[in-house]
């Protein structure tokens, strides 16, 4: 028997697999395909103070081994999420979730965080300072140490839940930003958000996405994510939720060897609604294949010796 339990910032997960924010809605669509209680947890769609429709269409494009999105944080706003989405979600998922907190100012992040903090279903806050698809907020906070630290400290002061800060790969030095967040009080880090990218339509000779750029995710970014998780693991002592391109049980193990305590799965859910269920079911066999009995023991395993 293998043990797939991991502990993320003080909360035990039956397995490390966590559907990534924005690719799992509030869980309801996937609950039509399978019992989502097999998941370690999941991260809900990025939520802002006010409702947002997001960017104009088209907002999906494709790459050779992945996809671009420029959704731009479409969500019904925190009050609607708390009053409508979370109660519906409670019927299909009975474990603590990660609440993905977004904003356009420090005050807005704090207000959204406070409202999620009051929700029993929320286990962790995931502070999204890394969305590449919104203008004047989002990734803006995640690209400098000062602003990342400022918003982290402000939200930390407003919550009793573990605070996981989600980092963008669209920076020259992710390690210094990771360290700034740790010093500002982050209890954990999640990385990576999507990589800023573009496709151009040869017929129209214009970018495919109306927003021009979008965020690349899927298998194409996996090696980049592994490298960043590795580097950040070397520099911080708080747990890491590693994500970016994960699509198999082997990828989960690789991400954990790089330093991830838990592992997010994003784009893979959109291609195959059963992706997370399949990964979780294949995890024990993959562990046995690589001689792993306790998953928690391999975290950062590639760094030692």
């Amino acid at each position: 028997m293998v043990n797939t339990t991991v502990n993320l910032c003080g909360i035990d997960l039956t397995n490390p697999v966590i559907p990534a924010s924005g690719t799992f809605g509030y869980g309801l669509e996937f609950a039509k395909f399978y019992d989502i209680n097999c998941l370690g947890s999941f991260s809900c769609k990025g939520t802002t103070l006010e409702p947002r429709i997001g960017n104009p269409a088209p907002r999906i494009a494709e790459g050779n081994a992945g996809m671009l999105n420029s959704v731009g944080l479409q969500n019904p706003g925190i009050d609607h999420v708390v009053s409508h989405e979370l109660p519906k979600m409670a019927e299909v998922f009975h474990k603590p979730i990660l609440a993905n907190v977004c904003g356009f100012s420090v005050e807005e992040y704090v207000q959204v965080a406070e409202k999620f903090d009051a929700c029993e279903q929320v286990g962790w806050l995931e502070l999204n300072i890394s969305c590449p698809n919104v203008h004047g907020g989002g990734m803006g906070f995640g690209t400098s140490c000062e602003s990342a630290a400022e918003v982290t400290a402000a939200v930390k002061a407003a919550t009793t839940k573990p605070l996981i800060v989600k980092l963008t790969p669209n920076v020259t030095d992710i390690v210094s930003i990771a360290k700034a967040c740790e010093e500002a009080g982050a209890d954990g880090l999640s990385l990576i958000n999507t990589v800023m990218a573009m496709r151009i339509d040869l017929n129209t000779r214009k970018p495919v996405l109306k927003n021009l750029t979008g965020g690349l995710s899927g298998p194409a970014v996996f090696p980049l994510a592994v490298r960043m998780v590795w580097q950040v693991y070397e520099a911080v002592s708080i747990p890491i939720l590693g994500l970016g391109g994960v699509s198999s049980a082997e990828d989960v193990i690789e991400m954990m060897l790089a330093g991830a305590t838990a592992v997010g799965v994003g784009a893979a859910n959109l291609k195959n609604p059963f992706a997370c269920k399949n990964i979780i079911e294949q995890l024990p066999a993959a562990m046995e294949k690589y001689g792993i009995t306790d998953l928690q023991s391999i975290i950062g395993g590639a760094h030692h010796g």
Partner: protein, 242 residues
């Protein structure tokens, strides 16, 4: 919604660019004309959405127009090839309160999408007019299939090379009591702007998932943002902010 494996049993060119695919597999999740499927295309990351043209218990018909790399790959696959499909997606047309003279207007690759609806309505004794609109004679397909259902078929081409010279808007002059349409967005927007009667429009949008999770396909409506894949693809007239 169901994920399952289908096998291509026949692939037939209807025109130089439109291929009719017959697939064997479990169609139990398909319940209403106007729904769609998401097809995993070998070598492509995202699935491709296609309207259900016709279905039986274990037989699915799709009409795929070659419009890029993914559809090209799909149209070149041989009989016997297995494909992974998500079926039973989308709301489909509302057919509960159909008035006596429904008009179906299809443009280009939207023509096939109306076939299952025409079948449903003619089976229920409605006098269906089907206006099939194309660019030119070489693009015309499915006329016989609609005619065999005893629908009154009207062909429109932009260059007048076959049928009436005209487009979808000209079809509105046909006597009708209700409109169902599928085709390019610009065509649907023009119809919506000119139609006073009860209408339903089947839309296309670039999709991430096709089942409501990613917000990739959102459109704006008078009732707020809607997902083409899960709240549509069929929307009533007068609500879409084109």
């Amino acid at each position: 919604m169901l994920q399952s494996t289908f096998t291509i049993i026949q692939s037939k060119a209807l025109t130089a660019s439109v291929q009719e695919l017959k697939l064997k597999g479990d169609c139990s999740a398909i319940t209403v004309p106007g729904q769609f499927v998401q097809v995993e295309v070998p070598g492509k990351f995202l699935r491709r959405p296609f309207s259900v043209v016709d279905w039986e218990e274990n037989l699915l018909t799709l009409c795929v127009r070659r419009s890029g790399r993914g559809t090209d790959i799909l149209c070149n696959l041989d009989a016997g090839t297995e494909l992974n499909l998500l079926t039973g997606l989308g709301n489909g047309f509302t057919t509960r309160h159909v008035t006596p003279l429904p008009l179906l207007v299809g443009g280009g690759s939207g023509v096939g999408a109306l076939y299952a609806l025409a079948k449903n309505l003619t089976n229920r004794g409605k006098v269906v007019s089907a206006a099939l609109c194309f660019r030119t004679a070489a693009d015309v397909y499915y006329v016989n299939q609609f005619a065999e259902l005893d629908a009154q078929v009207y062909i429109y081409t932009e260059d007048g090379s076959i049928g009436e010279k005209g487009n979808a808007l000209d079809a509105l002059e046909l006597t009708h009591s209700q409109l169902f349409a599928c085709g390019p967005l610009a065509m649907l927007a023009a119809l919506d702007a000119n139609e006073e009667l009860d209408a339903q429009f089947s839309l296309e949008a670039r999709m991430g998932c096709g089942f409501g999770a990613c917000m990739g396909c959102t459109i704006e409506t008078t009732e707020g943002p809607k997902r083409v894949c899960a709240d549509g693809p069929v929307f009533p007239g007068g609500v879409i902010q084109w």
